[in-house]
Symmetry: C2
Subunit: 382 residues, 2 copies
Amino acid sequence: MAQAAPSDQHSVGLVTAESADFSGPFPLASGESLPAYTLVYECYGALNADRSNALLICHALSGHHHAAGYYDLEDPKPGWWDTAIGPGKAIDTNRFFVVALNNLGGCHGSTGPTSTNPATGRPYGPDFPTVTVPDWVNAQAALADRLGIERWAAVVGGSLGGMQALQWALSYPDRVGATVAIASTPRLSAQNIAFNEIARQAITADPDFREGRYLEAGVVPTAGLRLARMLGHVTYQSDDGLREKFGRAVRTGDLDILQDVQFQVESYLQYQGKSFSRRFDANTYLLMTRALDYFDPARAFGDDLVATFAAMKAKLLFISFTTDWRFPSARSREMALAALRAGREVSYVDVDAAQGHDAFLLPVPRYLEVLGTYLRGLELRP
Amino acid sequence: MAQAAPSDQHSVGLVTAESADFSGPFPLASGESLPAYTLVYECYGALNADRSNALLICHALSGHHHAAGYYDLEDPKPGWWDTAIGPGKAIDTNRFFVVALNNLGGCHGSTGPTSTNPATGRPYGPDFPTVTVPDWVNAQAALADRLGIERWAAVVGGSLGGMQALQWALSYPDRVGATVAIASTPRLSAQNIAFNEIARQAITADPDFREGRYLEAGVVPTAGLRLARMLGHVTYQSDDGLREKFGRAVRTGDLDILQDVQFQVESYLQYQGKSFSRRFDANTYLLMTRALDYFDPARAFGDDLVATFAAMKAKLLFISFTTDWRFPSARSREMALAALRAGREVSYVDVDAAQGHDAFLLPVPRYLEVLGTYLRGLELRP
């Protein structure tokens, strides 16, 4: 993908991360609570006079608050969703006041396992409480209050971010105009949980994990994190996508005598794994995958998805991708149908894309067109 | 699946493993050679007078020579393919003389990484040479010679075993009547290689791997093997199959307060991984997955699959399973079509089964019916 420079007219340009401190106790779904917490966030665009143009971006497993723009002129790459957010882009900062944050339990500045536990003076580590999608949404609501945003014009997210967008419409039906859930699912399948569990086992089996107290020991379970990321990475892409990108191309070695052969897809995965293991916290990875596993809003409605959507008021847009086998199109279709039966105003588009689950992060023209058209059509009301 | 007792009329009953020693040097595709080697094998049924009823079973990644029957009356379970092999079963031992062996490089008795390297007096470990599907077939041909079998009525295998069946028809066109390749593929995709590579990384990242010299150190990389098997296991099953078997059923803990929740699919995977890590050799796992990655018979024919099948003489049966996403139906269809264009006598059946790649090991009635009907129809000629 071509990366726009900060000076590009469609870039939000230079941005700064903000931080908001909240005094607790903040009650969690598990029954535990956090004494106090900090959320880091970024804002793009301007809040209008009647505060009707706020749009919340919810991040997925490895995301954070830096969704668009650059931190300085030498910054080599922009925020993770810069292809979608900016002046004139699908999430148009000329129209919307866009807020992106790092979730509770994250490892990019918001309070999480790497933060100091005030009760012990040491990092929370494995003692950081279980957080769930509803907990995240409650924390996001506290941030909305702080920013003076009573109602979001839209809450938008892909994958785990889409789950938060759905939960917003359920937890705070009067505070959401539209929910945009991209490449999402109403609940994880046994296969999804299985892949998450293997990633967790890879992390906890690493001797440097030290039962989660690796920071205190001055080590990092990089081998485990590397494996977890490699596995995630393969499952976020399609068989076809990997075939187009790598096929059976050989990077090193000799296929004729089978000496030290390394296929390109292997070195690519190793690189992805290594780079991730240097920048992500293992306890956060465990916590985020657990939040994915536990998400199941229909559970409180007797497993009735129609009843679940009947409890919402927001309009809904679902987008899925034809080659996404992690959260396949059938799951989005299932939600769209249930929401329709519940009387919601629903749009659903299954986008033909070769990139698998990862497509939600990529500049797939049809996808960004659908997203942009939908958001442009939203009526803003306070 | 119901397991027949040794006394069952459709069981081959009590069986004994045999062993054959071969003096080398045995040349390998890599250019290296083995000084000498042993193959363990089992036979079921009787070789007829004109030696025209021999049928070879080739095993997949974690298989071995014990394909059917019981070792004693207390044996809790029969060989790995007992559902298919026996008197009156799909691979009918009343008609065929069935031979199953453990491949070179295996860890069930045939010479492999756990065997003593005569050059050092210590286990081969990581010094065991690279072996390929063509190498296996050459070793199997030596065993056939030893048993006085000039020509197999059929060579049958699933997954990696199917690759050997195909290679037989290519390496020894005059020695194979029919090739039965089940849930197989002409070559691994980038996604397949990626999953294999993650499994290998899990094993080699285990500190107990000791660069492959774990036996000498008196340890075993069980954590790595456990992860490799868990990953294999998930990918051998279908999303639908896992959903039917486990759904989101909880084994322990409380979903309401999210304390110590373990989903059933998680404990199932952990059990599978643990049991495998106790009985399988890590170096053999690395070697077998590499043989999978390297298999690409069309490479020598300018990537022309039609030309590849034109070099064979055997009749061919391909069987695939609708929910197998590791070696999907499209791959078997691709082979069947190429073989047809090459003028081969070809049968192809895509069996509707929920069990994914694993279906090839399971008592899927339609599948065993297809296999049995095909083999019954084979004309036996010396």
